[in-house]
Symmetry: C2
Subunit: 325 residues, 2 copies
Amino acid sequence: MTNPVIAEVTRGGIVESRHRGAFAVVDHTGHVVAAEGAIAAAVFPRSAVKAFQCLAMVNSGAADRFGLTPEEIALCCASHNGEPDHVRVARSILKKAGNGEDLYECGAHWPSAEQTRFDLIREGHQYQQVHNNCSGKHAGMLALARQLGVDPHGYSTREHPVQQLIARTMGEICDVGLDAQPWGIDGCSVPTWAMPLKNMALGFACLSDPAFDAGRRIIEAVQAHPFMVAGTNDFDTLLMTEVPRVFVKTGAEGVYCGCIPHARLGIALKIDDGASRASEVAMASVLAGLDVWTEKERETLQRFRHHELTNWRKFEVGEVRGLSL
Amino acid sequence: MTNPVIAEVTRGGIVESRHRGAFAVVDHTGHVVAAEGAIAAAVFPRSAVKAFQCLAMVNSGAADRFGLTPEEIALCCASHNGEPDHVRVARSILKKAGNGEDLYECGAHWPSAEQTRFDLIREGHQYQQVHNNCSGKHAGMLALARQLGVDPHGYSTREHPVQQLIARTMGEICDVGLDAQPWGIDGCSVPTWAMPLKNMALGFACLSDPAFDAGRRIIEAVQAHPFMVAGTNDFDTLLMTEVPRVFVKTGAEGVYCGCIPHARLGIALKIDDGASRASEVAMASVLAGLDVWTEKERETLQRFRHHELTNWRKFEVGEVRGLSL
């Protein structure tokens, strides 16, 4: 099955590049409300399912025991830009659960926020693991290890009780046995299990069930602190700031998940070629096409469906746009 | 027509992302030696045809009049990393032709070479137009303006005699009337005319005709100075360093062109979605599949067909690979 083109890039009025992909919009019963492409094929969810990894921690009682705030829970779901506020909150989570930065197993990279990166370079500092976009998630995993009373060392490996509990939690909410699924190692060294888009979407529909306290707590934490989940000028942060009733989370290689709690719908999307520029506008297109918004929300979503491409002199040369299917 | 998958990205042993595309290998008579996908569809060649933009300058006599060295001619064909040697050579071209950096119309961006970028940031400098990856090409265009005896201001616009001469030169060698083709504005503000891959490939086959002095001069300049055309750790530079009989040049949005002078073959390739990670390994695959190499060259090309994907802790997590078709 060849997935349809769901986003494209123009230049000089013609289409220069095309992005194929698939998406599923599913309700909490598993009914597929809207879909295109191969939604039963297994794809790696990557960082788009950090909310499920966080769910294992919240369900365990760790968030209550260590008194994690909504801001801190939001950072546990984040692919953040490594800005000072992200680093501050990650350190707070570590401290509350009695963990040190030396326990991190996420690896280190430069903060993606340019200003923060330049400040570090100018001051002669090196990046640290706490700057890793996943440092909040890993702080949550370390808190989970403490709650489980196990040695935190090796918490990132597939065999560790932390990852085993996450796999069970994710498998249950998405209704898929992850033990039998292909798995790989993510950028931050934890396992990522492949599953169909329709199952990811089901998981997000279930997460947003109003009767599910832990799910509501996570979604409301992110919606209250959209800066924490990404950062300055980031698509997730901008979209949730302007459309507060939506929850969205990007993942590497063109994966995008989200939910619409008031409509009890979950969404999962994957761009075949892995491009984030395409997954962002395609997610906005999928959202805009659903009949669950106020007029103002829909107008805002339409705006997120495309953005200008400018060149080095700020000339408008084309656009990136999500397609209506 | 749906182009085939010509490169893919794996994780944990399964394919995570797929890149579709088309390519044409053409001889100097226009005969298609090998091809996949829509090679008659017009695509923007972007920076992959800088050699043709340089050809207009060399043909005009500007290279001789201003005494441009092979190193300088190579930089005119470059998408360089903005490293100190690139900046030095760009300034030399400008100076020889009596032009100043204030005439540049390419726009400015940070050098893509990390070390150079960090040095600028640490020293409190801002990036300049001479750091633009196209600053060599633009220095060549300014030299062409001087040779033509026209006002260099506005040399980047479609109507200027410099761009008009480039369009004629490119149209002739590729056997396509560019006036009737769609055009757009490139990242560095000059026009880019869309044309079929088979015509781009024909152009490169003709450029490498041993009887064509200007073409040979350009190709040999780049082959003698592969660092100039890209830079440290760049695919073009590495490939031409290890396989000196090939000429390759990348372009934005997944375009890749090249030629094999000893076989009089030209090559043009475009990844549908615009990904460079795919165009690189796909180009290596196309080259490796041709029956024109020594055993050692073929082994080297096979090595360039794939590279490991590692995560932040340098774990091998998958690979990017060009496919054999």
